[in-house]
Subunit: 389 residues, 2 copies
């Protein structure tokens, strides 16, 4: 009960701060005295701070406003992408306070060196964060693949070539911090929920992460649908051309083979890969290049076919497109929406033909990962601090 009340106070301050003790008490339905005891404990743990006196003009003993500490505990987020590593630190207020990124070519890479480089980046960001008075209490790592329910094992990341890898334990040993591993689309969807900036935040949506791989996450009533083994959301391997191209997953005609970043660049005749290739494609499409526009139409159409299945099966309120390919949305989306409408003619469905673009861009998973550590602190403050040692 005490743990729950500590969390209630923190969430009230997170949502409404700066706010007085009396304000917190009235919002969460506890007495002012009970709230004061909880606030003192949270302040001692470095989670809350008291600001200057609030509303000096009001009658009675002036209260001090409470806010989440912008020094103190922080969350580290990391991303193992097919073509980059990235790490950031987010404070309790959700602001990014340190960030580092390294390009890399991780396709078919040995996991050991990649994880060592990631640990090095984490150490660098931790040092930067510490200079700002922050203390990372955990790391969440987004990976482009299936993650087991233990939140440690990468079961299969086809675009990295990794399989059955306990990345969580390797990184926890290297960093001396609690580590959780998460699927990048799942964590990107949570970023959309927490940081998407939409009011009210959507509660039932499908988040599509379009990069080299294409992942998705299904959010139902504000929670991730994980599937029986945690493998739900593999949109990239939904067949859109049943007798089509073979895929690294062992299947055929998977969406990824038509709308993934590499398929798209190949179709447009662009040799550069990764962000550089996407930049070239974007420039050519903007200049009206026929091959670029055709490639984007083809990819958008394949995406629309797969999303038609999603809308029929799941009836989401909204479809949100995120990831690196959002830069190409001016050309991808019209084709995707046209195809979606062709297959989901039913006008009674809200998500019958509109795809919303995430404002978080290619950092969605990275930000979501860092924020997930912060959310764990807000949900169970003393537990999270104890786990961090």
């Amino acid at each position: 009960m005490r743990q729950r009340n500590l969390s209630l106070v923190l969430h009230a301050v997170a949502a409404h701060g700066p706010i007085s003790r009396a304000g917190v008490a009235s919002r969460i339905g506890l007495t002012r005295a009970a709230v004061s005891t909880l606030v003192d404990e949270l302040a001692r743990a470095g989670l809350l701070v008291e600001l200057g006196r609030s509303r000096p003009g009001t009658v009675g003993r002036p209260g001090r406003d409470l806010a989440l500490n912008e020094r103190g505990p922080a969350g580290l987020g990391a991303e193992i992408g097919v073509d980059r590593l990235a790490v950031c630190a987010v404070d309790l207020r959700g602001r990014v306070r340190a960030r580092a990124e390294e390009a890399g070519e991780h396709r078919g890479s040995a996991p050991g060196p990649v994880l060592r480089r990631l640990a090095g980046l984490c150490a660098r960001v931790t040092a930067d964060a510490e200079r700002e008075g922050l203390r990372p209490v955990g790391v969440a790592v987004a990976v482009p693949g299936l993650v087991a329910r233990d939140a440690a094992t990468v079961v299969r990341a086809p675009n990295l070539g990794w399989q059955g890898l306990d990345a969580g334990t390797v990184l926890a040993d290297a960093l001396g911090l609690p580590v959780t591993i998460a699927n990048e689309a799942n964590i990107g969807a949570l970023a959309e929920l927490w940081r998407g900036g939409r009011t009210p935040a959507p509660r039932d949506f499908v988040y599509v992460s379009a990069e080299i791989g294409i992942g998705a996450a299904v959010v139902v009533d504000g929670s991730l649908l994980r599937g029986a083994h945690g493998f739900a959301g593999e949109l990239g391997h939904v067949p859109v051309r049943p007798a089509g191209r073979p895929c690294a997953c062992g299947g055929r005609g998977c969406l990824e083979q038509y709308a993934g970043e590499e398929a798209l660049l190949r179709a447009a005749g662009i040799e550069e890969r990764g962000a550089a290739g996407v930049g070239v494609l974007r420039a050519r499409a903007g200049a009206g290049d026929g091959a670029a526009r055709r490639a984007l139409r083809g990819a958008g159409t394949a995406l629309g076919t797969a999303l038609a299945g999603v809308v029929n099966l799941l009836d989401p309120e909204t479809i949100v497109l995120g990831g690196a390919l959002t830069e190409l949305s001016p050309w991808l989306l019209p084709a995707a929406e046209r195809e979606l409408r062709r297959h989901v003619a039913d006008p009674t469905r809200a998500a019958h033909g509109e795809i919303v673009v995430s404002g978080l861009g290619r950092d969605a998973a990275l930000l979501g990962a860092a924020q997930s550590v912060v959310q764990d602190v807000l949900d169970d403050p003393m537990g999270a601090l104890a786990a961090a040692g």
Copy 2:
């Protein structure tokens, strides 16, 4: 709290009866005195009965065993199929006690006469049930279409040609009983959960109802995933041939156009429709007829393509095939499973290539509908009896 405890007692007797008051008390963690008061109330309402003395050899005052009343309150289930109407009455113990069925051709039918005939069937089954000492307290009606969250309005049933029809109010007026309308695949999935006879009952599965239309229901942790508007599970309109045949839904290349009953009979060159046609197809396939076997392979393959999308998106523990076409499963399933395995090569998924056939056959939705009324009584006994008047 009292309502909740009444429900706890009923559920304990439903799951473990015949059982003594002491047995109920120990299972639900209430005192024997409290249980006795609750049992008396439930017995007065006709929900429980006391059987003969239990275990006469035991020491102490012999208790009487409790059981759900096999007379008294009952649930009516009804089904509006494209080619039949059916109604049944199920007692509190879940046994079917009366049943009636009428063939019909409801494609493009005016709803009024169909609903009047259904009300007539309900009256007939009610009369039969009353002769057995039963008293129906509600009706649930399965329809092959999208049902609004009000559980009364048929938003769209393309194979009937109905749209925006408040069938719930029409039937409630005719019958003088509470009526709920439900999608036939959803209610078939609940039947599988409640009456499927698997131990343990699957908690995460996709139920496919294959008839003239092909519906599906997604069960996550024992609950239906309904979607933002209640329209989830429209497997029949998942595109499997993106540039394929036009469908009544307005889309193209929908699964229903390749694996629905009519498409299948047409492909096999069979003129009979409905159960008769399925019987002919079954006989021909059994006799090794090439056209019949080819048609079934084609339908199975299309089903497998759509299910590959389902497995990738939802990661269910199990896929259960129900509905009229289960009669054809010896020929449909091998092709569907082969196609599913071709697209979901990942051996770490439980549902990567096996489809289970429901034992409930074409009555799944009918039985699920009747059982849903009984479940409502078990969940809120006094509320359900009060609503029935």
